[in-house]
């Protein structure tokens, strides 16, 4: 096995949570003054904080900003524990470096997995400054308090600004055990602080991956094989080189199997500006060997998935005896749900710039969710050490999982090495849509039984899709437990007989994570079928959800044989709690005025789903016009995310999830014909625009005393089923396939 494969495997395990237990504790103790690049006039109690003697507290954000607001929320946590003044902090974006621990900004982990790390970073700095003052004043530390960016001794009335304690603090050990603040004393945690980057983002000065400019830089545009895995048979570059501004044409490294995060081949045209590179690229004549995936056809592949979903699968969870229950029941319903591939389509397509240094190291500026994975991928490709790959993280113009992959950074690094010049690789929109790491296509089969009172007695659910694992292992045959754990194995319904199965499917494109991942199709099928069961029972769908949830209890999928990962965190801290689920059902339905009289053509639909350790309930109100077209009039989203750091950012994520969920519900579909992706831009891959946006997206955050859950992703999964259920309420027509445009209603 090559080093590259080893790396990919390890990254894969980290991402899937297979190898990671609880908290990654990344603190390093005692960085002395002047060491590790710190200014002489400063002290760094840990890698996240540097206190300068001019009284400024530097905070390093080691997570990537892609719209979730982490560059505001992260310093809120540290500054709060540090008792720092918000106006005297300076936020710096951390380089990619293992000293920060996990930097992979995916899985809605930035707060839920790092809250205690960040609190510790602030608290240890605070206690160090207190200890320094105690030493200087010869008083017990217990008599001192930190407040408003200074340490105070109430008894004597003495105070010292943090900056004035830097020299003394630098002589001290960093405290190993720290005491966290009483939550009642939080100043920033739980407050809706304004965006740190608000000014930059409204004046055009915010710097994204595509905005890096350096002297002598070449702009690269890469023509890739239209079929995933194909290679160039012949290249005629003569005409391209005649285009004004074009300087070089370079063949990219061949695609690997599995693809992992490596470049996927093709031909790069490098020029003095973007336009010339694109014109040169159009002038290329490339003959392709389209390779093994040239017969990939979404229509026939769909039939394969559906056929597989109708056969016995691999059992992932089993309770009772569903077959006996089906045989003994007179009311059995079954349904096929289907959801296609999706593309992330962030407004900023993938972009990275790389420059080689004279010592053989490479420096990269990238819109990346995962700078350490850029280090690993680039090091293997360039055959250098990871420490020789310096990764600067820019702002990300949207990401949604696409930019957790290092491929575009690796392309830039490869070209910088080949040319000896700085190179910026910018993907076009068509490159982005046609060569993505797609959200997986999926067929879901469900079968349910009801007793005479309408109670659900049996539930069979089969999930069939090509696995993300295929991106990292050529042997991957079908869904992994890490994927079934995303919204299938944690089914909270109190149904006595339940069996959850998976069916295999082979991948013909790169499969990747997309905002909320498998929860999209699992929630679509589960919440849609729950609505079908309610109607079969003659019950109100909202009331039926409360019946399905059953007695208040904590569900453990392992009780019925499931290997359930719970997003890498413990079920004790983050239980599958049906009491909290029911509270969300009740709150969101009350907000939406569930049960009110509806105008003709209007309908309400409800869906509730737990993902990334948070539960979100959505009610959609739809209107179906005289032509049969559906309009989403209003959305209500209620989230139980436990403790939240910045409520306004949580509200913003729910608003954004409403729109993102609508895009995939109404329009989102990537299809292949002869192995070629049929969509290419926002005309053929439409997303929601303001004209289709609801008149209001109403959000409520549940006040729950519990550790923080995820926020960026959990709002997405319930949106599509809520809309589909609302469409049924309005019309009596059941849609079991996404997107809704396929049914002719959009």
């Amino acid at each position: 096995m090559s080093g590259l494969e080893k790396l990919s495997r390890r990254e894969f395990l980290q991402k899937t949570g297979v190898a990671s237990g609880g908290l990654v504790f990344a603190m390093t103790l005692g960085i002395p003054r002047g060491a590790d690049g710190a200014d002489a006039g400063s002290v760094s109690p840990n890698v996240y904080v540097n206190i300068r003697d001019d009284d400024v507290v530097e905070i390093y954000c080691h997570r990537s900003e892609m719209g979730q607001g982490i560059r505001t929320s992260l310093p809120q946590v540290i500054a709060d524990e540090l008792e720092a003044d918000w106006d005297r902090i300076e936020l710096l974006q951390a380089l990619g470096d293992p000293k920060y621990g996990d930097q992979n900004t995916d899985g809605s982990t930035s707060i839920r997995k790092h809250f205690d790390v960040l609190r510790t970073a602030g608290a240890s700095a605070r206690e160090m400054l207190i200890a320094a003052a105690a030493l200087e004043w010869g008083v017990p530390a217990a008599e001192l308090v930190a407040r408003d960016h200074a340490v105070h001794h109430e008894a004597s009335g003495r105070s010292a600004a943090y900056g004035d304690l830097v020299a003394a603090a630098a002589e001290l050990e960093v405290p190993e055990d720290v005491t966290f603040k009483d939550p009642a004393d939080y100043r920033y945690i739980g407050k809706s602080m304004d965006l740190i980057d608000g000014a930059a983002m409204t004046t055009g000065t915010a710097m994204y991956g595509t905005d890096t400019v350096m002297s002598g830089m070449l702009y690269a545009s890469i023509e890739r094989c239209p079929v995933f895995g194909g290679t160039a048979k012949s290249i005629d570059e003569a005409a391209a080189l005649k285009v004004k501004g074009v300087e070089k044409v370079i063949r990219m490294p061949e695609p690997t199997s599995p693809p992992a995060y490596n470049p996927i081949g093709g031909v790069a045209v490098l020029a003095s500006n973007t336009w010339s590179a694109e014109q040169g690229r159009k002038a290329l004549a490339v003959e392709w060997d389209t390779g093994l995936n040239a017969e990939y056809d979404s229509e026939s592949y769909r039939q394969q998935l559906v056929d597989t979903s109708h056969k016995d699968g691999k059992t992932a969870l089993n309770r009772g005896d569903v077959n006996a229950a089906f045989e003994n029941s007179t009311r059995v319903i079954e349904a096929d749900y289907y959801a296609p591939h999706l593309s992330h389509a962030p407004m900023e397509p993938p972009a990275a710039t790389a420059r080689m240094h004279e010592d053989g190291s490479v420096e990269i500026w990238a819109a990346t969710q995962d700078p350490q994975s850029v280090q690993g991928t680039v090091a293997a490709l360039l055959e250098i050490d990871k420490a020789q790959v310096k990764v600067n993280v820019t702002l990300l113009g949207g990401a949604f999982g696409r930019k957790s992959k290092a491929d575009f950074s690796a392309e830039a690094a490869w070209l910088a090495k080949k040319t000896g010049k700085p190179v910026k690789v910018s993907w076009s929109r068509e490159d982005d849509i046609r060569h993505g790491y797609y959200h997986s296509v999926s067929a879901q089969y469900l079968k349910g039984a009801l007793d005479d009172e309408g109670n659900a007695t049996a539930w069979l659910h089969r999930s069939v899709f090509p696995s993300i694992g295929s991106t990292f292992s050529a042997e991957a045959a079908g869904p992994g437990n890490f994927e079934l754990s995303l919204g299938m194995l944690d089914n909270p319904y109190a149904i006595p007989n339940m069996r959850l199965e998976s069916g295999d499917a082979k991948a013909h494109v790169r499969i990747g994570w997309l905002r909320s991942v498998c929860n999209i199709y699992h929630a679509f099928a589960i919440c849609g079928f729950a609505d079908e069961m309610a109607h079969e029972a003659g019950a109100d769908p909202r009331d039926y959800l409360l019946r399905l949830a059953g007695q208040s209890r904590k569900v453990n999928p392992a009780d019925h044989g499931a290997e359930y990962s719970n997003y890498g965190q413990s079920l004790d801290a983050h239980p599958i709690d049906t009491a909290r689920y029911k509270a969300v059902v009740e709150k969101v339905s009350a907000m939406a005025g569930w049960g009110r009289d509806m105008a003709d053509g209007h309908g309400l639909g409800i869906a509730v789903h737990r993902s990334f350790l948070s539960t979100v309930g959505t009610v959609a109100e739809v209107r179906v016009d005289a032509k049969g077209k559906l309009h989403v009039e209003e959305l209500w989203l209620v989230i139980d995310a436990g403790l939240v750091v910045n409520p306004d950012r949580v509200v913003a994520q729910m608003e954004g999830a409403g729109i993102f969920g609508m895009s995939l519900a109404l329009h989102g579909e990537i299809t292949a014909k002869d192995g070629v992706i049929e969509q290419g831009n926002y005309d053929t891959y439409p997303v929601i625009r303001m004209s289709e946006a609801p008149k209001a997206i109403n959000v409520h955050i549940m006040d729950v005393d519990a550790p923080p859950g995820g926020v960026g992703e959990p709002g997405v999964p319930p949106v599509a089923p809520a809309i589909v259920n609302a469409y049924f309420a309005a019309t009596g027509k059941r849609v079991r396939e996404l997107p809704l445009k396929k049914a002719g209603v959009v």
């Binding site: 900003e65 892609m66 719209g67 979730q68 607001g69 809706s192 304004d194 965006l195 980057d197 608000g198 000014a199 930059a200 983002m201 409204t202 004046t203 055009g204 000065t205 710097m207 994204y208 595509t210 905005d211 400019v213 702009y219 004004k244 500006n273 973007t274 336009w275 010339s276 962030p346 407004m347 900023e348 397509p349 702002l395 990300l396 113009g397 949207g398 910018s426 076009s428 929109r429 306004d648 913003a652 608003e655 954004g656 999830a657 409403g658 729109i659 993102f660 895009s663 831009n681 926002y682 005309d683 997303v687 929601i688 625009r689 303001m690 004209s691 946006a693 609801p694 008149k695 209001a696």
Partner: protein
């Protein structure tokens, strides 16, 4: 032959392919990166600038068509970043990733210059050429109303 136009009040003389979209002339040649690429086909509005006061999708507007005209980008919208639309955007914390917001703001400013008190429908009509994948539409609507002097 060099193409001459005014960019944010400064005269420009760019020796480029006349067919080069204004977007790339602004970004790669003039060096102002606040205007963003999103689609290259006038589908998403991220590249919106003002040409003689009119909102234009600069990704599909040849630089030669700007000859002799006055081009304003997000960097030139106000000297201090305090145009009422920019202020409203910050007060309501509209941006998420922020990438599309230069184009959103430029389109919104052009709307308010034509129509100082737009209805929700006017706003939807004017803004529907600007995609926000993060989904900030409800806040954009409120921010435009606020900049117009409304209640939001």
């Amino acid at each position: 032959m060099a193409i001459e136009f005014t960019l944010n009040g400064e005269p420009q003389s760019l020796d480029v392919d006349p067919q080069m979209p204004l977007l790339w002339a602004i970004r790669d040649i003039a060096g102002l990166t606040g205007t963003k690429y999103g689609c290259g086909k006038a589908l998403c509005g991220s590249c919106t600038v003002h040409v003689d006061g009119n909102p234009v999708r600069s990704c599909a507007f040849p630089v030669s068509s700007a000859a002799g005209m006055s081009v304003t980008t997000i960097e030139g919208l106000s000297g201090d970043g305090n145009h009422p639309v920019q202020k409203a955007w910050r007060e309501l914390n509209v941006p998420q990733c922020g990438y599309c917001q230069s184009g959103q703001i430029m389109t919104a400013v052009a709307l308010l210059e034509r129509n100082p008190n737009p209805s929700d429908e006017d706003i939807a009509t004017a803004m529907s050429g600007n995609i926000c994948r993060c989904g900030t539409y409800t806040r954009i609507r409120k921010a435009i109303q606020r900049a117009a002097g409304g209640e939001s």
